[in-house]
């Protein structure tokens, strides 16, 4: 039997993502791609994969058939179990036939990536294998009973390994933004209010946008603009004054003023926040944003370090998640 990955269980919002659908925003086509690019790159590089399964808070269970698969996991601090054995939240595994890999929401984080080494036998749609559920482009969201065939399968590691990827560490540091592009639609004190407020991720948040709950932000010049292009992390203020941070599945254009835009080095941290979690923003200038971007991408480019599972990673350790959190934080 040819190698494949069976989806035994999948919560809502489990999709296939590659780097996204480029070049067609001019025709109304959404980029899509991973919510957390840093975690996606960690998983796909470690496994040698061309795409990944993006798992949301509802979790997923997968199983290999036809071969032992090379599987990497990276993302938020999810609870990862290989046949019941706790694994670190970022790991590289041999998934033997019949073994169950279970991913559940853990201590923190909203998205986790499962990358299978090799190449999925999935034809791209408009140049990408990314699911964009709203427009129906790419594979349908994954559900129990689905099977992902592998056109090529990479060699698995001999035993499970931990992946040390310090950029995956959660942190409560403010999310950095560049003010604008429509700063002139807001009085300076409204921009101050936006930057000084404590915000909470709203329940109605998804791959398209995160709703931010906090003080209403008032417009100086009305809430309609002639639609223009929208970047990942743009924070638009619609008529009700409740900010929306536009994420991977955003429309390519929008008609509300955008007060600020999350910088590239921090968008993954925003993406990993869950509904109900708090955050604040801090304004930076272009130079600081680019310096942070350089540091972030250099870390990702260097790749995750493979390490043997520590002594603490045993089935009897009920403190696995905490210890793993400690390991990650020690490297922060």
């Amino acid at each position: 039997m040819s190698a494949r990955l069976l989806i035994e269980a999948a919560g809502p919002g489990v999709t296939i993502q590659d780097e996204g659908r480029f070049g067609l925003s001019r025709y109304g086509v959404t980029l899509a791609g991973p919510m957390d690019l840093g975690a996606y790159v960690a998983a796909t590089r470690a496994a040698g994969a061309d795409s990944a399964i993006e798992v949301s808070l509802g979790g997923a269970t997968v199983r290999a058939e036809g071969a032992t698969l090379c599987v990497a996991v990276a993302g938020g601090d999810f609870d990862i179990r290989l046949d019941g054995r706790p694994m670190p939240p970022a790991c590289l595994l041999p998934l033997t036939e019949g073994a169950r890999l279970v991913l559940r929401a853990g201590g923190s984080g909203a998205w986790c990536y499962v990358a299978v080494g090799g190449r999925l036998d999935l034809a791209p749609t408009l140049g990408s294998r990314s699911t964009h559920a709203r427009s129906g482009l790419g594979p349908k969201p994954l559900a129990a009973g689905d099977a992902l065939m592998l056109a090529e399968a990479a060699a698995p590691p001999l035993e499970p390994l931990a992946l040390a990827a310090p950029w995956l560490a959660a942190s409560g540091a403010p999310i950095r933004v560049l003010v604008g592009p429509q700063a002139d639609y807001f009085a300076p004190e409204e921009i101050e209010a936006f930057l000084n407020a404590r915000w909470r991720i709203g329940a109605r948040s998804d791959r398209m946008a995160y709703r931010l709950e906090g003080p209403a932000i008032r417009h100086r010049r009305g809430h309609d603009i002639v639609s223009d292009g929208v970047a990942m992390g743009a924070i638009q203020i619609p008529g009700d004054g409740a900010p929306l941070a536009l994420m991977a599945d955003r429309q390519p254009t929008g008609g509300y003023p955008k007060i600020a835009t999350v910088i590239g080095a921090d968008i993954c941290r925003l993406a990993q926040l869950r509904p109900g979690e708090d955050l604040s923003f801090r304004a930076v200038d272009w130079d600081e944003a680019v310096a942070a971007r350089r540091a972030y991408f250099e870390a990702i480019e260097a790749g995750a370090t493979r390490e043997p599972l520590g002594a603490e990673m045993t089935t009897e350790s009920l403190l696995a998640e905490n210890l793993v959190g400690g390991v990650v934080n020690a490297r922060d």
């Binding site: 109304g28 592009p181 002639v226 992390g233 272009w286």
Partner: protein
């Protein structure tokens, strides 16, 4: 001719909006499209993708490959010689798109006509009698926004969105018309329906109308709609394209 220099607005550190104006205006849009064409003909290193909109050119770039200052300088070098003479404002092509205004396919034409103090017939005549400009795509793949709606058909959008549009729904909302390429809830009014596929995955190219093209609607009856719809489903392009220059 408007020779005002554009505004360069940062959209984070890796995207820039070059804004030529703040209105829906053919001359402003022509400048957006002219810059887009030049950038696409010779893209600066680090430029990832451009998205033309009504009045601004949005661009994603990699600031680790090109600085903002270098990108702005490259754009300014392209804008300076933007010869926006009368010809550059003219659309390169005109599409004639069949459109059925029969209430069977134009689900909201009666409601919109009543709100506008028109009859369904006069609304259809006004809509089909106008010359449109395809300003941009947005919202969803193949959703094409058209300027040139007659003033008499300007209509406030619904406070609460209606159910999903039919594929090919021809819509009006605000001072614009729009062809809806796929079923989506919308606050606009469906006043017609085209059998043409504005977006077809299996067709090359998947999208027909280019931003900046001229568009006219040709009224067809329900029987013709069904005939053309079957032909469009089989992959035929039932809209007609004329090259203007």
């Amino acid at each position: 001719m408007d020779d005002e220099t554009p505004r360069f607005l940062d959209c984070g550190e890796a995207a820039l909006s070059v804004e030529f104006g703040d209105s829906v205006d053919p001359a402003v849009n022509a400048r957006v499209l002219a810059l887009d064409e030049r950038l696409r003909a010779a893209p600066p290193a680090g430029l990832r993708e451009t998205t033309p909109t009504y009045r601004a050119l949005f661009m994603r770039y990699e600031p680790l490959e090109i600085s903002r200052a270098a990108l702005v300088a490259a754009i300014e070098g392209l804008i300076a010689p933007l010869d926006m003479d009368a010809r550059a404002l003219q659309p390169a092509a005109r599409w004639t798109i069949p459109c059925c205004y029969d209430p069977e396919f134009a689900e909201d034409i009666g409601e919109a006509a009543a709100l506008l103090g028109q009859t369904a017939q006069s609304l259809a005549q006004l809509h089909a009698g106008a010359d449109y400009r395809a300003y941009m795509y947005g919202f969803a793949p193949g959703w094409c926004y058209l300027g040139g709606l007659p003033q008499a058909l300007a209509i406030p959008r619904r406070a609460t969105p209606r159910g999903p549009t039919p594929q090919g729904g021809t819509l009006i909302g605000g001072a614009l018309s729009l062809i809806a390429a796929s079923p989506m809830p919308t606050g606009w009014y469906v006043v017609g329906r085209t059998p043409e596929r504005m977006f077809a995955l299996d067709r090359d190219p998947p999208f027909l109308v280019a931003p900046g093209d001229a568009v006219r609607f040709e009224p067809i009856d329900a029987k013709t709609f069904l005939t053309l719809d079957a032909r469009a489903l089989a992959g035929e392009t039932v809209a007609r394209r004329e090259t203007l220059f």
